[in-house]
C-alpha cells in the first residue's frame, strides 16, 4: 500500500514537472493541477492512511475505537482541494484570456519589451 502510494507520487510529480516545463500555457496549468493533487496526497498521507475505522465515538463508549483513522489530514486535504480548485479555475480563465489575445507562450514578453540599446533598458510607454 505504502509502496504503491509512493510510486504514484513519484510518477505524478515527474509528470507534473514535465508538463509545467512545457512551453504551452494549457499544459502549464494542467501540470500545476497535477502537482496540486499530489501535494494534497502528501498531506493526506501525513495521516497514515490504511485504517478504515471511522473516528466517531460510539454511543456509550468512553473514547475513540482503537486504530481509528486520523480525521485531521482528511479535513485539511478537503480544504486544500477547495482552495486549489478555485485557483485552478482562475488560472484557466486567465490562460484562456491570454491565449485568445494571442499570447506567444514561447516568450510571454508583453510586459517585458526588448531593449533598443545594448546597455540601457527600453523606455516603456504605458
Amino acid at each position: 500500500m505504502n509502496l504503491l502510494l509512493i510510486l504514484t507520487l513519484g510518477i505524478g510529480v515527474a509528470a507534473g514537472v514535465y508538463l509545467m516545463l512545457s512551453r504551452d500555457l494549457f499544459r502549464l496549468v494542467v501540470g500545476l493541477a497535477i502537482l496540486g493533487s499530489l501535494a494534497n496526497m502528501i498531506l493526506f498521507m501525513g495521516g497514515r492512511p490504511g485504517s478504515l475505522i471511522a473516528p466517531v465515538i460510539e454511543k456509550g463508549a468512553e473514547g475513540l475505537p482503537a486504530g481509528f483513522a486520523d480525521p485531521l489530514p482528511q479535513a485539511l486535504t478537503l480544504t486544500a482541494i477547495v482552495i486549489g480548485f478555485a485557483l485552478l479555475a482562475f488560472a484557466l480563465v486567465l490562460a484562456a484570456r491570454a491565449a485568445r489575445n494571442g499570447a506567444d507562450p514561447d516568450r510571454l514578453r508583453a510586459s517585458e519589451p526588448k531593449p533598443h540599446e545594448a546597455v540601457k533598458p527600453p523606455i516603456e510607454d504605458w
Binding site: 477547495v82 478555485a86 479555475a89 482562475f90 480563465v93 484562456a96 485568445r100
Partner: protein, 135 residues
C-alpha cells in the same frame, strides 16, 4: 434555448427545482448527519449551471437574488456574524451557541451554502457566456 436537446430543455425546469430543493434538504440535514452547507451549495451550483447551460446564463442569474460575487460575500458575512455572537456572550470567536434546536451553526452553514453557490456560479457563468459568444 438549445434546440438540439428537446428532452433536456423540457426537463430542465422541474429538474432545477428538484436539485435546488435537494440542496436545501442536504443543507439542513447536515445538522446531525452527513451533509451541510458545502455539499448543499455544490448541489445548488449544479442546479444553477444546469439552467444556465439549457436556458442561457441570464435565466440562471435571474434565479439568484444577488450577483454571484455579492451572493458569496453575503454568505461569508453571514458566517462571520454567526461567529460574532459568541464574543458578545464572553466566549472565543466562532464558538457556537445553541438555543434548543436552533443554533448559530445553522447560520454559519447557511453562509457557507451561499458562499459556495455564489463563488462557483461566479466562475461558471463567465465561462459559459464566453462559450456562447465566440469572438
Amino acid at each position: 434555448m438549445n434546440e438540439r436537446l428537446p428532452l433536456l430543455t423540457n426537463a430542465a425546469g422541474p429538474l432545477y427545482w428538484l436539485l435546488f430543493l435537494a440542496s436545501l434538504w442536504v443543507l439542513f440535514r447536515g445538522h446531525n448527519a452527513p451533509g451541510g452547507g458545502f455539499i448543499g451549495g455544490l448541489l445548488a451550483v449544479a442546479a444553477s449551471s444546469l439552467l444556465a447551460t439549457v436556458r442561457g446564463v441570464a435565466a440562471a442569474r435571474r434565479r439568484q437574488w444577488l450577483a454571484p460575487v455579492r451572493l458569496a460575500a453575503a454568505g461569508v458575512v453571514l458566517a462571520l456574524l454567526s461567529g460574532l455572537v459568541a464574543p458578545l456572550a464572553g466566549q472565543p470567536f466562532l464558538t457556537h451557541i445553541w438555543w434548543g434546536g436552533l443554533s448559530t451553526v445553522l447560520a454559519f452553514d447557511l453562509g457557507v451554502f451561499l458562499a459556495v453557490w455564489g463563488a462557483l456560479t461566479g466562475y461558471i457563468y463567465p465561462l459559459l457566456e464566453e462559450e456562447a459568444s465566440p469572438s
